[in-house]
Each structure stands twice: as C-alpha cells, then as structure tokens.
Assembly symmetry: C2
Homo-oligomer: 230 residues x 2
DNA sequence: ACATTTGTATGTTTTTTAACATATTTTTAT
DNA sequence: ATAAAAATATGTTAAAAAACATACAAATGT
C-alpha cells in the first residue's frame, strides 16, 4: 500500500503535489488500494462513484456503450492518473465504464476526505479545474476528428495518440501498449474488420510494421500527415 | 451596464449566486459589457482569452473548424451563461470560435479579478468544477451520438436538444431559436443538403412542421423515439 | 427596381464504410 | 493434448451518406 501511495501522492506529475504533509496524511488515511486483473471491469456506466480512483499501475480503457451496444473508447488512462474523476466532480453516476487492459493497482480516495481538503486548498481546486478544462478540450477535438476524418485519418490519429499517451519501447519504435484490433477499432470509430484491413494497408505501405499486437511505427511523419489530411 | 450585470451576477441560476456582496462588487468593478450584432464573431479559434465572457442577452454558437474548413458546432449558448470558459480555466488559447446568432450583450470579467476571488471562495471553485465536469459528460455523449447514430437519429436528437436548450414559443410547439439549415447541419454532423432533405422528410411524416426557419414540433414522442433508435 | 448573393430544395451519381461471409491462426479452458 | 472459443485476416455485397448538379426563392446591396 505504501509504495502505491507514494506513487500517486508524491509523484511530481500528480495534482496532489500542491498538498502539504498533513493533507497528504489525511488522504492516505481515507484511501484503500485494490488489484485488478487484465479484462476486469473497474466500474460500469450507471454505477455510483464512491471515491476518486487513482491508477497506480497498469493501463485502463474508459468507454461508452452506444447504438446497439457498440463501444466507443473515450479515454485511455495510464499511471499516475485518475479514473472516473468526471463523475465524482459532476456529482453524477458514471457515464462511461472502465476496464483494465493490463493487470492494475488502483487506490480509491473517499469522496468526503477529498472534498474536505478541496474546500481549504485552493491550489488543488485550481489543479482540478485546469485538468477538467483541458480534458474538455480534448473531448471536443475528438468529436470533430471522429466525425470528420476518414478511416485512414482516424486510424493514423489513434496510432499517434497511443504513441503519445504510452510512449515507445526501448527499440524506439514499438508503441508501448498492446490492444486488440477490436479495441483499436473502438478507439477509432470503425468496425474491427476495417481496423484490421487499414492496419494491413499501412503495413504494406511501410508506415508501420505489425507483429501480433505489437505495432512498430516506421514512418511517424507519414502517419502524422495521414492524420492531418483526414 | 447595471441591468446586464444584475442579469449575470444576481441570477439564481448563476454560479455567482454563492458570492457575497463584496465579492460581487469586486467582479463588477473589473468587468466590461459589449454589444454584438447577429453574425458577429466574438472570438476565434487560436485567440487568447482575456477574461470570462458572460452572455447576458442573445444566443451564440460555439464551433470548431475541421477537415477542409467544415464546421462542427460543439455548444449552443444562451443567457445567462458563459462563453469560452473552458479556455480561461485550462489556461489555453481558444480551441473553438464563438459567433452571435442573434444580437447579443456580453460582459467580460477580467481573469485576474476572477481568479483572485476563486482563490478564496471554495464554493465558487466547486461550482466551476461541477460545471466543467458536467459539460465534459455532455461532450463525451455527443462524441458517441454523432459518430454512431444515423442521419435521422442525429437530426432528431439535435431538434430535441434545441428545444431543451432554448425552449418553445408561446404556441408551445415552435422551437425558440432560428437557425439556418447550414447551422442545423453543422450541429448534427451532416451536409446542408442532407439536413434540408431530412427535415423535409420529417415534415412529410408530420413529426415537425416547417415555415421558413420556424420549426414546429408536432410529435415530440416520435422525435425522441427516432433519436433513441439512432 | 434590378442584379447579385445567399439560402433552400431535390434529383442523380459516386464514395465510403458497414455488414456479411468464410478462412485461418491464436488463445484459453478442460 | 485437444477441443472450443476468441481473435485475426480478407474478399464480397449492401447501405449510408457525401458529392455534385441544377433549379428556384428570398434576402441584400446598389
């Protein structure tokens, strides 16, 4: 627990870096950590959030079910980051579901303890306001991208997005996340068939190289060009 | 100026209702009001926000330019409400443009004055956090709707959305906003031709009645059914 | 009052993408 | 180890929506 906690709270990148020792101690006393296996559901659309979920280890997809149960991924989370923070701050139930795409460790901070500190620490409030506003910008961008770009543009953008979110392996070309073709399709608003087909086309054009779920980016500039043109 | 100000600050619906008299006075001293004519641009994608813009009178569309300059409306603002608050709180430039679709009166609160009060008033901070989180939920919903529903479903949803946002005229059926077919198309992610065509179809099915830009909803239940089915 | 532009309407064609079908490979469970 | 299930791959067909073309009406400027 302590090591996970250190990861979340004391991390330089964390919004909690603005808290003092006492405040951190308070949050810690009101938190619990849990482990999830790959493919485990962390929460489902419609559930009531009990606290702020922090991802300490592993990767998580956040998705909504649309027309006919068709899944749209709206966010890909990485450590250290929050999951489901929109619902807790909007004081609503979850509007999306979260599923572990790798084994994960998450810590949940109780809502009351968090809100109490939020009430007195304006730096934390500013941090959260900035995060939500930033995320809203991303969401509006995604709306335009997914509705206006063609299949190749959407897939190219998703690959660039995955590279920027999770980074590259030591070889400096393999995207550091291993998604099913179906997940790639659900991220890019297309059918699984079309994701497979278009990935194959990119591979035949030497823009990427495929090896199972491993995706190597061979021509980043080319990929970005396809993404921009739509 | 005073009447506009009253409209924005003292309104029950306003997030500023949590402020005390002194705080309201502070904001007022650091605000300016301007008038805009129909079709005037209030700000453009890429501009730097100078303050928090409050819409006191009139209606405004917020839109992004996508592939090939194609416009996607991401929000429709009404009085009393904010415009461009995402950018100011994310501390970014605008990611969308705002245009008056009617003659408008707007008041701009200087960023420094607003942030100063935000620093000391945690209720205001909570209000803003809740608003941003709520809006993020709407944005994610829209992403799924616009990508997954078919033309009829998207248009039906837009009409219901416009009715819920702006309400109905005294006749209890005419939507209280007068948009061009092009704007309706840009709200619903379709071409102008398809918006015109599908509106005509709805009219021939007696779901709506058209008279110029006036849209009467004749069968709300039917419209909602089409929207839900996609 | 007239010409010009802008908005509305509708038919036809073409492109894009989903749906469907069917193998083949890989993973998982027993 | 082997059967069953899931994931991947690719070809074909069908449906949806965009693009294009053209006509007409309404608003606007001179």
């Amino acid at each position: 627990m302590n090591v996970e906690w250190h990861n979340i709270i004391d991390n330089q990148m964390s919004v909690f870096s603005v808290l003092n020792t006492d405040e951190k101690e308070q949050l810690k006393r009101n938190s619990t950590c849990t482990q999830y296996k790959k493919n485990d559901i962390i929460y489902k659309e419609g559930d009531k959030p009990s606290g702020l979920i922090c991802l300490s280890k592993g990767k998580v997809k956040i998705f909504k079910e649309g027309v006919g149960g068709r899944e749209q991924i709206v966010r890909m989370a990485k450590p250290v980051g929050f999951i489901g923070y929109r619902a807790i701050f909007a004081e609503q139930n979850y509007l999306a579901s979260a599923e572990a795409i790798e084994d994960c460790v998450i810590c949940t901070i109780e809502k009351e303890a968090l809100f109490k500190i939020l009430k007195t620490n304006s730096d934390l409030a500013f941090s959260i306001i900035r995060s939500l506003a930033f995320e809203l910008g991303l969401s509006n961008n995604r709306t335009v991208t997914l509705t206006q770009k063609h299949i190749r543009g959407r897939l190219a953008e998703s690959l660039v997005f995955l590279k920027e979110t999770y980074g590259l392996e030591e070889d400096d070309s393999t995207i550091k996340v291993y998604l099913s073709r179906e997940d790639i399709a659900n991220l890019s608003n297309m059918t699984t068939s079309n994701a497979i087909r278009t990935l194959s086309t990119f591979a035949s054009e030497k823009i990427i190289a495929l090896d199972g779920r491993k995706i190597k980016i061979q021509d980043l500039k080319g990929l970005e060009r396809i993404s921009e043109l739509g």
